[in-house]
Symmetry: C2
Subunit: 85 residues, 2 copies
C-alpha cells in the first residue's frame, strides 16, 4: 500500500442558491465592500492508503460520494497531490 | 473601478487541532478507509470592485482580516484569478 496526499473541493452546484455565500456577501456589503457573486466551498486535504495511483482516484471519488459531498446538490473536484516514496 | 475575481482559502493554523477534520477522519475510518491527517478548510470565490490590481490584494487581505478569517487561529491564502476587461 502507498500513502497518497489528496485534496478535495466541494461546492454547491452553480444553479443552486448559496445561502452561506449570500450571508457573507451581505456582511461584506454592510462593511462597505463592493462585492458580488460570493460562493463558499469546503476543501479537504488528507492522506489515504491505496494500492496504486490508478486506484487512488477511484477511492477518493468513493469517499466523496459517500461522505464529503452530496451528489444531489454538490459538485466536487479531486486532486492527487503526491505520494510517499 | 475594475471588477476582479478573487479566491480565498482559510485553514486552521497547522499547530491547532482541527476538530472537524478529526470528525471526518473518524467517520471515514468507520467506513473502512485508511485515512490520516484530515484537515478541513473553507474556500471563497467572489468578485470585488477595486481601483487597480495593486490595490485589490490589499482590499482582499482586509476582507480576510475583518470577516473571512480569524488571524488568531487561521491562516489564509489569497489569489486574484482575473479581472473584467
Amino acid at each position: 500500500m502507498v500513502k497518497f496526499k489528496v485534496r478535495v473541493e466541494v461546492w454547491l452546484k452553480d444553479e443552486l442558491v448559496d445561502a452561506e455565500g449570500k450571508t457573507v456577501e451581505e456582511a461584506l456589503k454592510d462593511l462597505g465592500y463592493d462585492v458580488s457573486g460570493v460562493r463558499v466551498g469546503k476543501v479537504y486535504i488528507f492522506n489515504v492508503e491505496s494500492e496504486s495511483s490508478s486506484d487512488v482516484e477511484r477511492v477518493v471519488v468513493d469517499i466523496c460520494e459517500r461522505l464529503l459531498a452530496n451528489p444531489v446538490k454538490d459538485k466536487y473536484f479531486v486532486s492527487v497531490l503526491g505520494h510517499e516514496v
